[in-house]
Structure formats: C-alpha cells, structure tokens
Amino acid sequence: DAGITQSPRYKITETGRQVTLMCHQTWSHSYMFWYRQDLGHGLRLIYYSAAADITDKGEVPDGYVVSRSKTENFPLTLESATRSQTSVYFCASGVAGVGDTQYFGPGTRLTVL
C-alpha cells in the first residue's frame, strides 16, 4: 500500500539498549522527518533529511542518530536509550522544504524502562 509506515508500532526496551525505529515511504518524497511527541511539549523535530545521504539536526537531536541511504527509508536509532526518551515517535515525509506540508506515519510508542 502506498503511504508512510513505521515499525514497530510499540516497543519496550531497557535503559542502555540500542533501539532502531524504522520509517518507510512509497511516495518518493525528498524530505523525511522524525519527531517525538510528549505531553505538554507537542511535536518536536529530532532530525530531518532533504535527500538520500543528507541529514540535519532539528530541535532535539541529542541521543539520536539517523541515516538515509535510500530515499524511501529513514531509520532513527537510539544508541543508548534513556528513560527520558520514552515518547511517541512520528516519522513524516514531504515534497518540498521543512515548512511545507508534511505527511505523517502512524507513530511508534516507545517505552524505556
């Protein structure tokens, strides 16, 4: 099916473990984004990518790593998970720049114990 998918949808991990959240889009959009959503903070941009092999930091990048070897995939890795990274993570894609319309995935709920 066309669109943007995220996996897993739910993940429980322990402090210190590495976790990778996957994001895949079938629209061939140039831009892809990772956000986290926490109560009281709304959505906050972690990283974004303007094209394959081009990534840049958003508002809250610390503790996260991204890569984009193919246009359609944009994985987000927490190299050593901390409790403060418990959140709902959304991936999004877009045709034009950061400020243009974004199309969001269904989200991954991550709990770090």
Partner: protein, 110 residues
C-alpha cells in the same frame, strides 16, 4: 526563541456552532503557517496552509486567518459536528525547524 502557542488546551462546543482555535507565535513572522488534525493514537493529518500574504483561506467548513500584525492565526470550523472532535495543531517553520504548538483538544457535543 521562536515559540508557537495555542491558547487553549481544550475547547468544548455544541454541535452546529462555530469552533475558533487560536495560534500565536513570537518573533519573526513565518512565511506560512499550517494546521493539522490529530486523532488519538494516530499521526497528524494536514488540513490547511496559509501564506503570509494571504489574509484568509477556506476549505469546505474550515477557515484559517493569518494576522502578521497580531502574530496570530485563527482556525474556524463552522457548523461543527461530533466527527470534528480531535486535537488541532498549528505549525510554523523557522530556520529549517518545524515548530508545532501543543494542540487544542476540541470536543463537539451532540
């Protein structure tokens, strides 16, 4: 810092009335501002984008205004229905960083 604030955490209205949601931003005016709808357990869905040179934009029962003097955008839903119940987010781009408001949870009662 560039802030974007939605005044109300929650808004309850009666079916058929007009819902008005407010979004305020600080410092530099964005070139455009966006509104999204988010249902529980789902990702946000794009609704409308309004540019700084547009005073008003409409889409079906939705209307967005943009006042760069007041640094404010208003989002209206006319003839509201219970199916409009959701959280509505405004967003602005600043320096290649998209900033979202915390959202207003709208409940439309039958």
């Amino acid at each position: 810092s560039q802030k974007i604030e939605q005044n109300s955490e929650a808004l309850n209205i009666q079916e058929g009335k007009t819902a008005t949601l407010t979004c305020n931003y600080t410092n530099y005016s964005p070139a455009y501002l966006q509104w999204y709808r988010q249902d529980p357990g789902r990702g946000p869905v794009f609704l409308l984008l309004i540019r700084e040179n547009e005073k008003e934009k409409r889409k079906e029962r939705l209307k967005v205004t943009f006042d760069t003097t007041l640094k404010q955008s208003l989002f209206h839903i006319t003839a509201s229905q219970p199916a409009d119940s959701a959280t509505y987010l405004c967003a602005r781009e600043y320096n290649n960083d998209m900033r979202f408001g915390a959202g207003t949870r709208l409940t439309v009662k039958p």
